[in-house]
């Protein structure tokens, strides 16, 4: 009898992988196992509408439990795989859960995600020091935030800035502390970093760059004060830590899979053991646009796209994950939309109005269009995304003229270079 597919990790990628297997006609058993007690849900709203109190968890479900039952996808919640092994190198094997269940499988998919990087300084375990990754995190934070007055956000990446925007909108005193010399440094160019610094400052956030949090102090078990490397101290009754994530690699290690800051996969989502696939935040993969290098993408888009690729691979088809990456972030009334990957750019062009908070930055390398960061400029975002998807380009010189719509400038790559 076919023991079916075991999908480890029940979030965006895992759910998509299970659904894609069924959509492709796979009739064998599918078990989707996750350590959280809930049905799979959307994470992005946790730092946005959910944190603001504008949504309930059931509204964030990726699919209803009825849908999963209807598709005969077995969802196991509140359970974690402790040990896993393959029979003779795979693809079949067995896994044992923390609570002692044994699960056998004929195919294995790892969609194990990532956990928040922990702050490792004195006082980091005080009450009122929070992280933001899971629904439980967000629910706790939402409660604490309603009573808080002074919020310190550690880390000026997307999660930190979105949380800061929510706290500020609720009238809290908010300080963002970032160790690097600019915000969102891993994802956007300095011009966009500076825009976000100024935008947060204009809305009353105290943004501290180039300083580190060195200690947290409190009274009893409750945090009260954040100490910085420049010697300053900031009062805080709530600390939100958003300093990145670490892929979960414990099971990949047990399986002797290659790891390089994530589970290494090829463009077909195959790990170094080609019978085992992996998808989502836990993976590092070739750049989907160029096929070269290795990137780790933390996004809904990649989780979905790579999971579809992984499902195809398990069913014996080859469908590379070559979709144009895209991403978004909502802070206040600022909607950032990113398409492509700007890594390695040697030129960028700014269109629109930084002061007016509606602009786009197009990135190029060797005159080739790589990516766009668009703030309140969905047309520019979509034009670049479409150009990249179609293999077209938009000349940098032409794009610099903000009066001309980008969509009218897109030309086939061969002509554009």
């Amino acid at each position: 009898m076919d023991a079916g597919t075991l999908v480890v990790g029940a979030s965006q990628a895992g759910l998509q992988l299970a659904v894609s297997l069924r959509d492709a006609g796979d009739r064998s058993p599918i078990t989707l196992i996750g350590e959280e007690p809930h049905a799979p849900y959307q994470r992005p709203p946790l730092s946005k509408s959910y944190l603001q109190g504008g949504a309930e968890l059931e509204q964030l479900w990726l699919r209803t439990p009825e849908f999963l039952a209807d598709k005969d996808i077995t969802l196991v919640t509140a359970e974690r795989i402790d040990t896993i092994e393959l029979d003779h190198g795979g693809p079949s094997g067995s896994a044992r859960t923390v609570s002692g269940q044994t699960l056998t499988f004929d195919r294995l998919a790892l969609t194990v995600g990532a956990r928040p990087r922990r702050l490792e300084i004195p006082g980091a375990d005080l009450d009122g020091v929070t992280y933001l990754r899971t629904a439980a995190d967000a629910t706790l934070l939402r409660e604490l935030q309603s009573a808080a007055e002074s919020v310190v956000v550690v880390g000026g990446g997307f999660i930190g800035l979105e949380a800061a925007a929510v706290a500020r909108a609720q009238g809290k005193a908010v300080t963002v502390v970032e160790a690097a010399d600019r915000l969102i440094g891993r994802a956007v160019a300095p011009v966009v970093s500076e825009f976000y610094r100024a935008a947060h400052a204009r809305r009353g956030v105290d943004v501290r760059l180039g300083v580190q949090v060195t200690s947290l102090a409190g009274e009893g078990n409750r945090v009260q004060c954040v100490g910085l490397s420049d010697g300053s101290r900031i009062p805080a009754d709530l600390v939100i830590v958003g300093i990145g994530v670490v892929p979960r690699m414990q099971l990949a290690r047990q399986l002797d899979l290659d790891i390089e800051g994530g589970i290494v996969v090829d463009r077909y989502a195959r790990t170094s053991n080609p019978t085992v696939v992996a998808a989502g935040d836990c993976t590092v993969q070739p750049n989907p646009l160029t096929g070269h290098g290795r990137v780790r993408l933390e996004s809904v888009q990649n989780a979905i796209s790579q999971a579809k690729t992984a499902a195809a691979t398990l069913l014996g088809r080859r469908e590379p994950n070559d979709a144009v990456p895209w991403f978004w972030s909502d802070q206040y009334d600022l909607k950032l939309q990113i398409a492509g990957l700007s890594n390695g750019h040697d030129r960028f062009v700014v269109r629109g109005d930084l002061e007016g908070e509606a602009f786009a930055v197009l990135y190029y390398r060797d005159e080739m269009l790589l990516a766009v960061d668009a703030v309140n400029s969905p047309g520019d975002y979509m034009a670049v995304r479409k150009a990249l998807t179609q293999g077209s380009t938009i000349s940098a010189d032409a794009a610099a003229d903000g009066a001309v719509a980008l969509r009218n400038l897109s030309v086939p790559q061969a002509l554009g270079v």
Binding site: V19, P44, R63, T64, K71, V300, W326, M382
Partner: protein, 106 residues
């Protein structure tokens, strides 16, 4: 509890219970209505939740906003007068029975 009716490509109607206040896209995705993807979770970022609003409801639902308009223009293969991104249509008690048609591709 208002209902939303999704007409799939083959003409079949799928009736789904919704909660007032949530988007038509959210209702569709959660219930696995085929043809509505909604990758961005309703942020008007992906243009993968395109629908054609049934003529009977198009006036009460209204037209696209500016941001949505841009995405529809660029993201959607066959845009019509009744095209909307379903993430931008909020379900209300008054729209009970709202009927939308699912396009051929997203």
């Amino acid at each position: 509890m208002p209902k939303v009716v999704f007409i799939t490509l083959d003409g079949a109607a799928r009736v789904v219970d919704a909660q007032a206040g949530e988007s038509v896209m959210a209702v569709a995705v959660r219930n696995g209505v085929p043809g509505i993807i909604g990758e961005c979770g309703g942020n008007c970022s992906c243009a993968t939740c395109h629908v054609y609003v049934d003529n009977e409801f198009s006036a009460s639902v209204g037209g696209a906003g500016d941001m949505e308009d841009d995405l529809l223009d660029l993201g959607v293969a066959d845009r019509r007068d009744t095209s909307r991104l379903s993430c931008q249509i909020k379900v209300t008690e008054e729209l009970d029975g709202l009927t939308v048609h699912i396009p051929e591709e997203q």
